[in-house]
């Protein structure tokens, strides 16, 4: 097959220099064969490129990954439609929380996401600078009118950033949440077990950074460089950057006994700091991406 191809190809190049002279004369057998092969190759390339392009839909079809998008992200479909995959949001983030998706995300390749457990958005930038950097409005302060806001996605009020609480303008310009924190593994939660925590929240090797107001407002430091010593674990509440988003409450267990537990409230924007800081492995509290606030 390959040999035949080569011969025809080689013979073809010699006579192909003057195709216009062929006029309407009947094509020779060799030329017809050559033309047919060319059509086949064209179909091959068409199939190859389109196949590769359309295979990008597979991860969507299987909904393999639920990505946490950066703050201000449009709803998933609109987000993927409008993202131009330039990574400008990646470049402005002071804690490098935003990563770009790879091939396994198919159509979403090159689109930004946040792996909160590895590095959450702690709003160190104060102004949601990723939204400011976005050139296409994939991340936006205010949605265009034709895009609906899902019930419970809209924040009841502009979230107050604890770090900015003393400033003239303490709020974050964020109209919708990107997810909601949920205590997915309550049985492992140290607060519920009534335990304290001493040491580096995520161990000495953890590279994640966080802004500690007591250390430096403008320079986030490594979580590993900020060990804790608390009698009752409340790290998720202690480090939550948003006012009133989470608190430790006394709740009643099914058996009627009283115990402490972190409770998430409506102002939660889904930034993921609680998920990052949770010292148990795997984390007791997680962000559910694109989750809305449900009033029960």
């Amino acid at each position: 097959m390959n040999d035949a191809d080569t011969k025809v190809g080689a013979g073809g190049t010699a006579s192909a220099s003057s195709p216009h002279e062929m006029g309407t004369a009947p094509l020779s057998r060799e030329r017809r064969q050559q033309a047919r092969r060319r059509v086949l190759r064209t179909i091959l390339l068409t199939g190859g490129v389109l196949g590769a392009a359309l295979s990008g839909f597979l991860p969507l079809v299987y909904a393999r990954t639920q990505r946490l998008r950066p703050p201000g992200a449009l709803d998933e479909k609109d987000f993927l439609a409008s993202c131009i995959k330039c990574g400008q949001c990646v470049q402005v983030c002071p804690v490098a929380a935003i990563k770009l998706a790879d091939l396994v995300d198919g159509i979403g390749v090159g689109a930004p996401y946040i792996d909160a457990r590895a590095q959450a958005c702690d709003f160190s930038c104060d102004a949601v600078s990723c939204i400011l950097a976005c050139p296409t409005g994939s991340l936006t302060y205010t949605k265009p009118d034709f895009l609906p806001v899902r019930a419970g996605a809209a924040m009841a009020a502009k979230p107050i950033l604890l770090a900015k609480e003393q400033d003239a303008e303490p709020t974050l310009n964020l109209a919708e949440r990107i997810g909601v924190a949920r205590l997915t593994r309550p049985e492992t939660c140290l607060a519920i077990q009534g335990k304290g925590f001493k040491g580096q929240a995520r161990g000495p090797g953890f590279k994640g950074r966080l802004r500690y107001m007591a250390v430096d407002r403008w320079k986030p430091i490594k979580v590993a460089d900020h060990p804790y010593d608390v009698a009752e674990c409340d790290l998720c509440v202690r480090e939550c950057p948003v006012k009133g988003a989470i608190s430790i409450e006394t709740v009643f267990a099914p058996d009627g006994s009283k115990r402490k537990s972190p409770v998430v409230h409506e102002p939660c924007v889904g930034c993921g700091v609680c998920e990052m800081i949770c010292p148990v492995e795997p984390t007791a509290i997680e962000i559910v991406p694109r989750e809305v606030w449900k009033t029960s």
């Binding site: 359309l54 409008s82 995959k85 330039c86 159509i107 090159g110 296409t136 409005g137």
Partner: protein, 325 residues
């Protein structure tokens, strides 16, 4: 512009969309005179050909172009790495010293998929449009696109294998690129996803350079392998809608390659090095419609033909500027 050149201008636009170049029906009398002269003095021409058979061939334009391409891409990398905020983003969209830039094809895909255009995107697209009208449309391909450079190296490998008789160039129908352009535009508008961006080697490579390598590079590798062993420069020639988008911009660009008929010996070295030899059909003996013919919009203004031409018959030209000087 004379009628013959006007006709050729339109013809070359069709050639960009995939039509095969045709032998011209009408040739300007001045050009015809030169054609006839060349036909009547074959011995003289052979003698002159022989005399400068070993003409030195430098790589002036290629070196300038490679340097530009590497610097442009390095600017993105350096800007992020050292956080100097000079050229933020990637080739798909960026900010130069704070000013928005958006790749025309990526922006088009986003506009078609999202059906909503914010001001910043409009500014970025407009700026880039003006930029490449001035700089020569597909000059984007050969002077900026990182895939182009890899493909050039792959082409060298391909040509080596051809010389060793291990592979042959399998040509493909050039109309396919136009078909792909339409398919990807329709896919973006209909599905609401920027389907092409997922397989765009330009975007993948640009992001890989700036943000680190990923599995998506495998697709780029597959394309290069296809080009080395099967079909020379296949992606740029037969598939890439980015090239066609910038080609359309190049229709009205004043920056182009100009061909001068009188000094040309028609050996065809330029056509051998050219990525888009269909735009150089005019250098074939007897084809030039006028004594000076501008090369069509599908030309990437890479300058390989300018470097290669032993007689200086192919040169860069800025329309209007040469008249002014």
């Amino acid at each position: 512009m004379t009628d013959v050149l006007k006709h050729r201008f339109r013809e070359q636009i069709m050639v960009m969309f995939g039509r095969e170049p045709k032998k011209p029906a009408v040739i300007a009398p001045e050009a015809q005179k030169i054609h006839l002269y060349k036909r009547g003095n074959r011995d003289l021409i052979t003698e002159m050909l022989h005399a400068r058979a070993h003409a030195v061939h430098d790589n002036k334009w290629r070196n300038r172009r490679w340097a530009t391409l590497i610097i442009a891409n390095l600017l993105f990398v350096v800007s992020f790495y050292f956080d100097i905020q000079l050229l933020e983003g990637a080739l798909t969209a960026s900010r130069f010293a704070g000013f928005h830039l958006a790749d025309l094809n990526s922006a088009l895909q986003v506009m078609l998929a999202h059906k909503h255009i914010i001001t910043n995107l409009l500014i970025g697209t407009g700026t880039v449009l003006v930029l490449w009208i001035l700089l020569g449309g597909r000059a984007y391909c050969s002077w900026v696109c990182p895939y182009h450079l890899l493909a050039e190296w792959a082409e060298k490998l391909h040509l080596y294998l051809v010389k060793k008789k291990l592979v042959t160039d399998q040509t493909i129908d050039r109309r396919l690129r136009s078909v792909f352009w339409v398919i990807f535009a329709v896919l973006a508008a209909a599905t609401g996803y920027t389907v092409f961006e997922a397989i765009s080697p330009t975007g993948i490579l640009s992001r890989a350079l700036i943000y680190g390598p990923g599995l998506a590079l495998l697709w780029v590798l597959a394309l290069l392998v296809f080009e080395v062993f099967f079909s020379k420069r296949a992606w740029c020639r037969y598939a890439c809608p980015i090239g066609l988008t910038y080609g359309v911009v190049g229709i009205i660009s004043p920056l182009r390659i100009k061909y001068k008929l009188d000094g040309c010996f028609h050996e065809g070295d330029c056509r051998k090095v050219c990525l888009v030899p269909h735009v150089l059909d005019t250098v074939i003996k007897g084809r030039a419609v006028d004594v000076e013919v501008p090369i069509g919009p599908d030309c990437t203004r890479c300058g390989l033909c300018v470097d290669t031409c032993p007689t200086g018959s192919l040169t860069f030209e800025v329309k209007g500027l040469s008249k002014l000087l």
